[in-house]
């Protein structure tokens, strides 16, 4: 054989050997799996290795302005395994003093370094492999612990056992608590429950090892990292929520009521800006324990008359100035007698539809409904109207557990000759406060019914995963005419009717009171009531609708107008004061509004703006000047005039009594440099006399009050 041939021959032998080695590795691998597999799997279980789910970071629930309403924080419980694989006798002896010193410094176990040293040594000697170091350790603190001697040896060798627990924190505590909800504990509720799949993210995996009898410890790092959940941006405005919740709480306490709920809704979008649900606790305090606004339907009482009157107007059976019988506030429907609650009815035989609504006459609307809808051919018409007002459907708000509205069907069980009259005044029907508000909101929104929106967006970090558009339930729940007529009814209630004491001071609201007897079926002893108020504000271009329901007030009255109404009024006034969108010109009006209402006059400013204010306040102006600047004059009892305030060209104008903005504007327009002294108020004094000649670039100082 040649030299080369020999090499190739020998090489071939070796190649065959290598190939066989590879083959045997493959076969042995298969053998380990197929033949020995069971043994190894049971061995794996015997050494007690477990893969358990690892909770992901739950997404945050945020307010519409990005404030955190609910967030998850991770805390750690630290234990030590003094017999961990990396801790040799030598290392232990070497570092135990320093470790004991650090532990004494960083734990609150009331142990001195000497005490810790003893504990560590005893644990190591007695084989205690799960020595508690500290509970509730925050992320930052954990980093410090990891650097301690021995612990710094690292995962599985340094003996530090880290067990994470997640806590859900709600920084705003009580505010909208029930709506934000709970993700665990007994039963998940609120947004936490409804958006659980969005918030919860994807579980990871973690290996747990059994280090001692009954002692399982998690590995330090995740086997499979969990994917954190998405955040949801709600429509709740936490400042307004605070206003709503505190206004409600104050009133609940004052009336010692069972529970109360208040919802504030953005008229155009249906956004739930605030939602408060307070129930009395056993200790007499109040807390958000049940979402009555959504989860519980009750007989609404007189607030339902809006639906009745809208139905009658829509069907063109009546008009607002029709004279109708109220028979001194009494009526008989079969064996049942109906009585008005308001005293005014007792002196009236007949009145107009408008007036009857304003004083909330039961008899008037029961009679009308009975007259027009009792006919079997027509009872369906009433129901059909209620259907198109959205009162027979759930609002389908994005929360779980919305109660169904209950409205009887003709011919169904319990439908009788008295059903229509009682239904017309809000009995024998049941609605949740939110369902009622959705109806009122549609009226405020000129007939366009919006679906209540509680969540605007699902986000992950800064990217929007899903956007929930404001949704229209019904473009027009009734004719334009009928809607505008009931708007004027609701406005009238606040001017002359049961809500006249509830009219906000600086603007106008519309609404309807309601008082429901809760236990009228159980005889007349110890009557319980539910006071309610539903409405919207301001009357022109309504921005918010709001409903307040207070259940079983036990002290200081029970009428809707005296119990629920004041909550509405406080909410409306306080929301108005902070919501800049409600003001015509933010820098201009608030101060002037106040002085206008007290002085009603001698305001100096731009004519156009003064006019806007007056219009906003529904103050009629008799005379309008054409000049740019004007002075607002009180003219007789109620009326105002805008008199000319002339600015003579070429001379310094009189800016006294002007607002600072107008004064500066006027002067700077003339090429003056203006210096302002003082904080707020109108101009009291000016350094250059009115009428003196202007020097371009000249300096003038104005002093405020």
């Amino acid at each position: 054989m040649s030299q080369k041939g020999n090499i190739v021959f020998n090489g071939r032998l070796i190649f065959a050997f290598i190939f066989l080695l590879g083959l045997s590795i493959f076969i042995k691998t298969a053998y380990v799996q197929r033949v020995e597999g069971e043994k190894w799997m049971s061995k794996r279980d015997a050494i007690q290795l477990q893969v358990k789910p690892l909770e992901a970071d739950r997404g945050e629930i945020l307010s519409r302005n990005g404030r955190v309403l609910a967030t998850s924080l991770t805390y750690y419980t630290l234990h030590m395994d003094p017999l961990a694989s990396g801790i040799t006798d030598e290392l232990f002896a070497q570092h135990v003093d320093e470790l004991a010193y650090q532990l004494a410094l960083h734990t609150d176990a009331n142990l001195t370094p000497g005490g810790w040293r003893e504990r560590l040594k005893t644990a190591r000697e007695t084989g205690k492999r799960y020595l508690l170091i500290k509970k509730n350790v925050a992320e930052d603190e954990l980093k410090i612990f990891r650097q301690f001697p021995l612990f710094s040896l690292g995962r599985n060798s340094g003996g530090l056992i880290v067990e994470p627990t997640k806590k859900r924190e709600r920084p705003f505590n009580l505010l909208a608590d029930r709506t934000i909800g709970r993700d665990r504990e007994n039963k998940p509720v609120g947004l936490e429950a409804a958006f659980d799949d969005v918030l919860s993210g994807q579980e990871g995996k973690m290996v747990w090892r059994k280090i001692d009898a009954g002692v399982w410890v998690p590995d330090d790092i995740a086997l499979v990292n969990p994917k954190s959940g998405n955040d949801i941006i709600t429509t709740i405005d936490i400042n307004k929520q605070d206003i709503v919740e505190s206004a409600l709480l104050k009133r609940l306490e004052y009336h010692d009521a069972e529970y109360g709920t208040a919802i504030l809704m953005d008229v155009q979008t249906g956004d739930i800006v605030a939602i408060a649900n307070l129930s009395k606790l056993e200790n007499g305090g109040y807390w958000e324990t049940y979402n009555n606004a959504i989860g519980k339907s009750t007989e609404p009482g007189s607030t339902f008359k809006l639906a009745t009157v809208l139905s009658l107007l829509e069907d063109e059976y009546i008009s607002l100035d029709d004279s109708i019988s109220i028979n001194y506030g009494k009526a008989q429907f079969f064996e049942q007698e109906m009585v008005d609650a308001g005293r005014e009815s007792f002196s009236m035989n007949r009145t107009t539809v408008q007036r009857a609504f304003e004083i909330s006459s039961n008899v008037a609307f029961a009679n009308l409904a009975d007259y027009y809808y009792r006919d079997t051919r027509n009872e369906g018409q009433f129901l059909k109207n209620l259907q198109s007002f959205g009162l027979r459907d759930r609002t389908e708000i994005s929360l779980l557990g919305e109660a169904d509205p209950f409205i009887k069907e003709p011919g169904a069980d319990g439908w009788s000759g008295t059903t229509i009259p009682w239904m017309s005044i809000g009995y024998e029907v049941q609605l949740t406060p939110l369902q009622m508000l959705t109806f009122y909101n549609a009226i405020a929104n000129d007939g366009k019914q919006m679906r209540p929106r509680l969540v605007q967006e699902v986000r992950k970090y800064d990217s929007v995963k899903k956007y929930f558009k404001p949704q229209i339930i019904n473009k027009r729940i009734a004719s334009k005419r009928a809607v505008s007529q009931v708007q004027s009814l609701l406005e009238g209630v606040m001017i002359r009717g049961t809500g006249r004491d509830l009219q906000p001071t600086y603007f106008r609201a519309a609404g309807k009171t309601g008082t429901t007897q809760l236990n009228y079926r159980n005889g007349k002893s110890n009557l319980k009531y539910q006071a309610s108020f539903a409405g919207y504000f301001p009357v022109k271009n309504p921005k918010y609708s709001c409903i307040v329901v207070i259940n079983d007030p036990k002290a200081n009255g029970y009428y809707g107008s005296t119990v629920a109404g004041p909550v509405f009024k406080e909410i409306a006034e306080r929301i108005y004061s902070i919501d800049k969108q409600l003001h015509v010109s933010e820098s201009f009006i608030p101060d002037r509004l106040r002085s206008l209402s007290s002085e009603l006059g001698y305001q100096v400013g731009q004519s156009e703006e003064l006019e806007q204010i007056a219009e906003h306040l529904d103050l009629p102006i008799d005379y309008r000047t054409q000049s740019e600047y004007a002075i607002l004059m009180k003219d007789g009892q109620e009326n105002l005039s805008l008199m000319k305030r002339s600015v003579v060209h070429g001379v310094i104008p009189d800016v006294r009594n002007m607002g600072v903005r107008d004064a500066v504007f006027a002067l700077e327009n003339l090429g003056m440099q203006v210096e302002v002294r003082g904080e707020i108020g109108k101009v009291k004094r000016q350094t250059m006399k009115p009428g003196s000649k202007i020097m371009r670039g000249g300096k003038i100082t104005i002093f405020l009050e």
């Binding site: 090499i7 190739v8 020998n10 290598i18 590879g22 590795i25 053998y31 380990v32 330090d220």
Partner: protein
């Protein structure tokens, strides 16, 4: 041919070998990213740290392969003696001044750039080159003891003895590879058996000595290992390794889902095979075995084709050593051989190893690259 050369300006030489190496390297990225997760966490490094590090060395390694495959084997032959002498010098230096890491002094810190470097990896390649050179030069008298066998075996023993104190596994691998190369290079098999006989004799003397003076020689750890291998299910390392392999099943638990990477010692080097079978199943393991078998096959084809003795021997020696190393690494995981600490070429973490493995394959590819142009002497 010219067009082929032109289009493959970068990857010269045996294309299937390039392809097999490429697949191996691609697979190494997926494997290392997951297997180093624990290591990264322990060192407080981001999870992708080792991936990037590996990527850096891979780029450097591929560049080295491509560059060296352009060097004529003749030139390698010319520098092989110098390389070997250099490796001996480095090994001595390491033994005296090396950096200790994991109880073994295998490293020297390179001045200026501050990186550590493992001279034994360099010595592996250098020794094989040197042996191939000596075998080639002594083909005329190859069956002779004093003019062929002894002059070759002495440098082999010298190198291996210098490595053995810090890395017995590598020393043994090199020794075995050199013996095999000598066998292939037609050294009289008689002497090889003689050498093995003498080795066994010396070992038993040592063993006896050790049982009498157990403090001087750690006989019990040797016997312990053998005993463990023969009589038990293996130490905890092998047990975890087999559990990982069982866990994997046919298709594996999926990339990144390994449980046992947290328990296996060095899932990114010594027990990377067990880790791979756990994540990618029997199929993944089979893929790896197949790739290395293909590499061996291609090397053998190159050996078959070349007309030059040195080329044949150098390609065979390097190829055999690296594939054997890979298979031993795998064999440990399935307990075909006792536990050793050999990393798997390309698949294991470690920069020096990767660069010299690349260098070795560069030389093999170089042999295949110049096959057709070289005229037989």
């Amino acid at each position: 041919m010219a067009t082929l050369r032109y289009t493959n300006i970068l990857f010269k030489g045996d294309k299937p070998l390039w392809l097999a190496l490429g697949l191996l390297i691609l697979f190494s990225f997926v494997v290392l990213y997951s297997s180093t997760a624990g290591l990264a966490a322990d060192s407080n490094l981001p999870s992708y740290y080792f991936l990037f590090k590996h990527g850096f060395f891979v780029v450097a390694g591929v560049a080295i392969m491509a560059a060296i495959s352009n060097i004529r084997p003749k030139m390698i032959l010319n520098v092989s003696a110098i390389l070997w002498l250099l490796s001996i010098a480095l090994l001595v230096y390491t033994l005296l001044f090396g950096v200790e890491y994991n109880d073994a002094r295998r490293w020297i810190r390179l001045p200026v750039i501050g990186m550590t470097f493992q001279p034994s990896e360099f010595a592996k390649v250098a020794l094989l080159l040197y042996v191939a050179r000596e075998l080639t030069n002594r083909q005329g008298v190859i069956k002779d003891l004093s003019s062929a066998f002894m002059p070759i075996i002495i440098p082999v023993c010298l190198t291996c003895l210098l490595i053995a104190p810090s890395d017995l596994s590598t020393a043994l691998l090199m020794f075995v590879s050199c013996l095999v190369l000598m066998f292939v290079g037609r050294v009289s098999i008689k002497y090889i058996f003689w050498l093995i006989g003498i080795g066994l004799f010396l070992f038993s003397i040592l063993y006896l000595f050790g049982t009498i003076f157990p403090d001087v020689i750690r006989v019990h750890t040797w016997t312990g290992r053998i005993d463990e291998f023969v009589n038990t299910d293996g130490g905890y390392q092998v047990q975890y390794s087999k559990m990982a392999i069982s866990e994997g099943g046919l298709f594996g638990v999926g990339a990144g889902n390994s449980v046992f990477r947290n328990f296996l010692p060095h899932p990114y080097s010594d027990f990377v095979y067990a880790f791979i079978v756990e994540e990618y199943g029997l199929l993944g393991g089979g893929f790896l075995v197949a790739i290395f078998s293909i590499i061996m096959w291609r090397v053998f084809r190159i050996v078959n084709k070349t007309k030059m003795t040195f080329e044949a021997l150098v390609a065979f020696g390097l190829g055999f050593m690296l594939v054997l190393q890979a298979f031993i690494n795998m064999a440990v995981a399935v307990k075909l051989v006792p536990v050793t600490g050999l990393p798997m070429p390309f698949m294991s973490l470690g920069g020096t190893s990767l660069l010299f493995t690349a260098m070795a394959f560069g030389i093999i590819l170089g042999v295949s690259n110049f096959l057709t142009t070289e005229v037989p002497e």
